[in-house]
Each structure stands twice: as C-alpha cells, then as structure tokens.
Symmetry: C2
C-alpha cells in the first residue's frame, strides 16, 4: 500500500489518469494479492485525497483494460488471465487446436438457417450472390469459459443438413465428415481486433468494452473449392493465436 498516497495536481495529466496509473502499478506489484480486490472506492478516495468520482473514473478505465472488474455490492475484483493458444495453419481445426489445453470442450449450435448469400459471403465462397447458403451460429466453450462465437456459411446445395449434424457432435470437422467431406484445408485467415458489440458481450459473457480478436477464414476442400466462410470472435483476454510457419 506504500504507493497509495495523496496525488498532486499536475498540469496536463488528469487526476483520474494519475490514479489509474498508480492503482495499475500497485496491482502489478501485488499489493492487493491477499484479498484479490482493490480497496473500496471511498477508501481509495480518502487515501488519494480526491472525490470518490475521481477514483471511479480511474477504476472505470482499468475495468475497460480488463485489469479489474467491479461487482456491485461486493467490490472491485482484480482479474487474472490465462490465455488459450489457438494455432492457425493450413490444417486449422478448432477442437484439435485447443484440445490439449482444456479438459472440457463444448460446441453449441445457436441457430442454423438457409438464406441467400449476400455479396460479401458470395465473394468469399466464390458463389453467385443470392445462392442459398447455410448460416450456422455457434458458441464454443473450453472448461466452461466461452472462447469463441462464430458465424459460418456453407454452400447449401452441398451441406444442407450441417446444422443438425453439428448440433449433435459440436464439431465442424465431424459434421463435415458426416456429410462426406473427409478432409479440408484453411486457405485464408484474416485477423483483426475490435470492441465487442452488445450481442457478443452477452453470448461470450464479457464485460462491456471487452476486446475481441476477429478472424475471417475460408476453408476449402482438397481441390481448392471453398466450402466454408466463417467470422469468429474470440475474447482477447482468453485467446491468442499462433502461426507456425
């Protein structure tokens, strides 16, 4: 607690930013490790010699960074993170990729519908816009934690019943195999990062403002014909990617 002294007013740097920095440092020093929580807002306000709102601004910034999580009625918890490592290669498969790192893997079908391909989906799948495609919404959990929320499109002609098959197995690889596709390859993966939107926050059990790693990927059959285009959102504090060349 040695560092939680009064804050001097410095020109140019807002009080709440200075306080956020001090709390961040105190956390990384392990000052609050016994309790696993930050002291109550009013206590911090007293120690820093500022109003409680100023402390709240600082804690809100740290919550945005994912360092702490405020829980109404209890206090502000310090968040500890361990990331799953998700390998990306020509033979990327979700279940195999994370399998080693988790005891319990679940693939949950949220919905499955046939719809006409919009221009973007058509482009990725090398189809005419308007061609029927199956849209499959899925959520994956590892050891009970949601690790990805994906939206995948398949040509409907070839993979009409993939929703039902995936619902049973929870694995795209197995579902494709059941529909006669024994093997497939990853052709393109795009990776970007954004803030989570409302729907994903709910599905992935995130705090508002959480960061998502987003992949846009195409899988093809062995002759190079696109069979799947998927947009997958991974909580950035739970997942990282590895590309082994």
């Amino acid at each position: 607690m040695t560092d939680l002294k009064r804050v001097e007013r410095r020109a140019g740097v807002a009080l709440w930013r200075q306080i956020a920095d001090r709390i961040r440092e105190a956390i990384s020093r392990g000052d609050f490790d016994e309790s696993g929580m930050v002291p109550p807002e009013l206590v911090l306000a007293g120690q820093f010699g500022v109003n409680r709102h100023t402390v709240r601004s600082a804690l809100a910034a740290l919550a945005q960074e994912g360092i702490v999580q405020a829980v109404q009625g209890r206090g502000t918890l310090i968040v500890r993170k361990e990331r799953f490592n998700f390998p990306i290669s020509r033979r990327t498969r979700f279940t195999e990729g994370i399998g080693d790192q988790a005891r319990d893997l679940q693939g949950l079908l949220l919905s499955s519908e046939i719809e006409p391909a919009d221009p973007e989906v058509a482009r990725w799948l090398a189809l005419e816009a308007g061609t029927p495609v199956v849209r499959l919404e899925a959520l994956r959990k590892a050891d009970g934690r949601a690790v990805s929320r994906s939206t995948a499109w398949f040509p409907a002609e070839r993979f009409k019943g993939i929703g039902e098959v995936f619902a049973r197995s929870g694995s795209i690889t197995e579902a494709l195999a059941a529909l006669g596709l024994g093997d497939y390859l990853r052709s393109v993966t795009e990776i970007s990062a954004t803030h989570a939107e409302t729907a994903d926050i709910a599905a992935l059990e995130l705090t508002p403002g959480a960061i998502l790693l987003v992949t846009r990927a195409v899988n093809t059959d062995l002759s190079g014909v696109p069979i799947q285009y998927a947009v997958t959102r991974f909580p950035a504090d739970r997942v990282q990617f590895t590309i082994a060349s």
Copy 2:
C-alpha cells in the same frame, strides 16, 4: 435526426447505454454525414432530455469503441477507418508487406542498446540468459500514420551495429543484408490483442483506450538459427493481418 428523441427510463438498462446505442445507430445511418461530427453534448442532452454527464458517458463508450473521437474546443468527430493489410507468412517482411498499400513508408529508429538477454528473450532466441543482445526500438509510419511500434532483440555478437544500419535504411531486411544475412525466415508468430499502454499511446498517436494487435515473432536464418525476436504493437483500427496458407 429523427431518432434523437427523449429516452424513456427503462429498468435494467442504464440511460447512457440506451443513448450510446441511439447515437451509434444514427451515425451508421449517416445522420451526421454533412458535418462529420456528432452534435454538441449540451444539444444532445437537450434532445434526449438528460443531463450532460449522461450524454458524456455514452460518448465516452463510443470513443472507446473507436467510433467517435472528442476534441476539446471543437466537438466530437466521427471516425472513419481504413485498415492496412499486413500479410504474415514464412517470408514476412514489413516493407514489402505494406508497400503496395502506402505511398510513403518510414522506419524510424527510436533507440538501440546492447543489454544482457532476460530469460524470456533468451528463450525465444535460444540463447543463455545474460548473453548480450541488441535491443532496437522502432516506429513505422505509412502515409504519415503510425502503424507499428516494435521492440526487437538480436544476438549482439552477430548483429552489433544493426542500430546504425537500420537508422539509415529504415528497413530490417536491408539492415540484415548489410550485415551479411541475405535471407531469413519467419518461424513463429503469436498474435494477441490488448489495450494500449501510456508509452505506446504517445508513440503511435492513439487515443487512450485504443486497441493494439500484438505480435511476438521469431525470425531465423536459413539454417534455422534464431536471429531476431520482436514484439510489435499495431493499432487495431489501422492494421489487420492476413495469413495465406
């Protein structure tokens, strides 16, 4: 402006969240396209029938998402984004990778020092901890926009003068070539995402709370000996990655 009516107090959803959603929708509808800015906070507060602080909370959330950027004295600008695409492969090279997409590329040396390898750096470079390494801090710009901030380590025995050479050419590839390494390969790339810290916010000219894509990568010479370990931070709203398998 049709949607900017009074907000009803609904149980369960905070006012500022409802307002953030309404402003986000109005922006994506293009309601403010003529000016490129959101109306002043006091105007919004009046239209929504709430206090200015409530509007500020909503705008702060949108700023976190990177949708808007507030500028003191001017107003709150709507941010338009276009991302550079950075390909990652066995032959990843920064300059070649982004070269097509930008007219003007700059590689700036921030500092270059020789230091003993800490355990992590030593592990990635397959050296004994404490072995001298060159640490090179660099900033890269494309068309005047900062696109990456990297910290790279090289075995000092082999690449002692790389700082000076990089300072002249602005290219790691050229610097390595000048030191006798004609070709090299990317062996591992790890990708994660976090919030930017203070130092990177300044160097990359970001707004606080911006998201960074972070790569940890190892390059080796043609016989597989590690020659470079680099941690590179890319602003997520300016860069995305592509892995072509």
